[in-house]
Symmetry: C2
Subunit: 495 residues, 2 copies
Amino acid sequence: MNQPANKNYQQLCEHFQNISHFEHLSALGDWDQAAMMPTGGGEARGAAMATLAKHIHSLKTAPMLEDTIAAAEQESLSGEQQANLREIRYQFQQANIVPGSLVEAKTKAAYHCEQAWREQRSQNDWQGFKPNLENVLALTKEEANIRAAALNISPYDALLDKFEPGMTSARLEQIFGGLKLWLPSLIEQVQDQQQHQPSYAIAQAASDAQALLSRDVMTLLEFDFNHGRLDTSSHPFCGGVPSDVRLTTRYDVADFTSGLMGVVHETGHAKYEQGLPHKWRGQPAGNARSMAIHESQSLFCEMQLGRGSAFLKQLQPQLKQRLDCNLSHEQLLNIYSKVSPGHIRVDADEVTYPCHILLRFEAEKAIVSNQLAVADLPDFWSQQMQSLLGINTDGDYKNGCMQDIHWAVGEMGYFPSYTLGAMYAAQFKAAIERQLGSIEDLVANGKLSTIMGWLNHNIWSKGSLLTTDELVQHATGDTLNPAHFKQHLIERYLP
Amino acid sequence: MNQPANKNYQQLCEHFQNISHFEHLSALGDWDQAAMMPTGGGEARGAAMATLAKHIHSLKTAPMLEDTIAAAEQESLSGEQQANLREIRYQFQQANIVPGSLVEAKTKAAYHCEQAWREQRSQNDWQGFKPNLENVLALTKEEANIRAAALNISPYDALLDKFEPGMTSARLEQIFGGLKLWLPSLIEQVQDQQQHQPSYAIAQAASDAQALLSRDVMTLLEFDFNHGRLDTSSHPFCGGVPSDVRLTTRYDVADFTSGLMGVVHETGHAKYEQGLPHKWRGQPAGNARSMAIHESQSLFCEMQLGRGSAFLKQLQPQLKQRLDCNLSHEQLLNIYSKVSPGHIRVDADEVTYPCHILLRFEAEKAIVSNQLAVADLPDFWSQQMQSLLGINTDGDYKNGCMQDIHWAVGEMGYFPSYTLGAMYAAQFKAAIERQLGSIEDLVANGKLSTIMGWLNHNIWSKGSLLTTDELVQHATGDTLNPAHFKQHLIERYLP
Ligand SMILES: [Zn+2]
Ligand SMILES: [Zn+2]
């Protein structure tokens, strides 16, 4: 019997399929920890997850990989196989840079920090949180320095590269620098225009009723409940695997409106996962492209669809039925396009949200370059919030630098993806409108499936077969162009 | 620096600690599959769990183990360390007998079969279930034959040994043979005595209310919710790890009474897990002793405590509060000591339950020795049910041979543990009463903690430090003696 012509490539595929099985279990552990696990289970779970992370790391750094990848690169492969091999090499490189002992130490510290954070945040306990965070960030910096040396880039760029392959702080400073030029005055103009808008009394809504409404909304957005579920956790997220996507959300009994859009947002993430190419499940080419592209899908759902007039109109019967909500369509529209600087990033409106990212981007750069100590973070936070949004957070840690889970679990360099995602989402909207007509009209005419079809064809089903720039170019005819985001904000908020 | 005097033993401990981390993830996957996972996630999960099982198997059969165990056996160890080493060797031997490829194939087939069974059972779809079961049982027989050859015992004994180390079908036939001599006439006598008891109308109770009641009962039984949780699944079980025990149950809106005792039962399993020795967490000596000892703890909770007069009296206020239940204490007692032959093992009363086990014991022996084909199982089932309990199950597969999950997941040789557990539970009761006085009095006087303390001291905290016979001897002054079970049944049902 002949050997297949691409036996090295086939061997790599088998190896990475195997890795994906352990990553599946890791995703399950993450979800369970956030949504299900009792507090007392944290210590043992942390140890188990650390061992799992170490095992995955050892598989990604298996001694045979270097030669097998080199040999596979000489084999005759299809274009898609070549793309998969590129992603295999990327994963191998990323894993090889960092020693297994550091991976394990960081995972353990992150689990410990996150567990404690759940309690500490609600108690505004900065003093309790600080040493855990210092521990996690010290390991994160160690990782950044090792990555930087290996890739010959700056430590912060080395962290960015984990979430946005190819993205640099220089490019980000240009993009965010541009934002700074027009966003503050736009926020002012919108606030001026909205200053006479009344505020609306929002009736209490039980969590159970909101959970039913959430399922309605997910169904409307064509979420596949045969391949996923919705639960609650203190920090909403989308996890699991493409065949079994785990969404979580939280419900505020006093105000259902933010939770509702939270579900729309996470459903956008989930649709991307559920739409990843079947053919490439378990292979690196079958993964989501990047964090920013992921966020573009959630923000597309939330901002381009969810907060639009036509979608809110469709939602009204369910709001009445599930929550006995009597808000008019105009009131809903006003609520969901209200611009108002606030403390909490995940509750921020679309217009002020980038300010929360600018703050975190500056803080991360300063921490990683040792210009800002963790102990000084609360002051830095308050100063930046003051200057960007006129908000003082002195002593209010839970609504300040303790609000996010990211740093607690050692994820630095992730935050910029949120605003990049908002920009990509606006760019996709512009492309769809050029190709298929107004999104508002499509939704109003019951053609949500047409929009989902475009996203599936152009984004979801592409997995990581294209690079980010190729994907965006292919879908929209251009690489990232922040002008679409500005255009979108002006259209919606300064009509 | 000197090497520790027991470096081989220490190396084994580290290795098995590592294994326990992967087993932790496996337990999580099992729980999630039963209680949380959407159907469409089954295929990918099955593949991931098979890879995990294969990995655990490879760790338990690591080439270095044989020599390291032999070397450790020459080292200077404490009595407890020697016990741990004995359990390490047992696990190594058990794992080495079966090739990894068979473990993987069986795990995959079992997951596939179980997934389908969830739907098929409710649809009474024997024709759909049969080929899946044949597949799983063919692999189980293959395993039995391989184990039998290695251990030089019969294939069925080799399966028993997985759940009850040292137990043989010869000893079981003697024990069960004894049962057969007195149980049928006892069932008749009890039914005679109960024939004029009225049947009681039980009010409907919503699942949510039953779930709250379940938490009350678990709290009464001192379940630690900081280290565990309760959820629902189609087949109640107790899983997870000692620091995070996962109970599941099911609620019947039309009759809360069986679900309530189901929770008491599973809480008994959970208490055992939560009480396993902290010092030995993650080591083989820290595991539960055997399936029969596990079942003895759940049955002690259910039969010796839960269905007793004093416990039911304590429960009455909660029954009123949660379910608005107006049953009198006498009515509750009658309901919970009603003897009535029925189709379903898990719903069977304490007196007829062993008949369900006798049937399965006979069926398993016949299947493993190729005297019974899976295709003929429904007929065999109906005949046995007819002769043992006077019940015909022709065509009623869902309440016949499709009712249990065990065979669907390849667990043969497990069923006898249930009745062995009932016998051990009765023997523990007798020992407690000799040492501490009547269990009814202890419960009535608010001294449930005293009973829990006895179980913790004599059973839970011993883990696997003793053999089963040593454990029982140490706790009760005797090895297994079925006379206590007979005595218990006579006291309760023929007073
Ligand atoms: Zn998001
Ligand atoms: Zn049990």
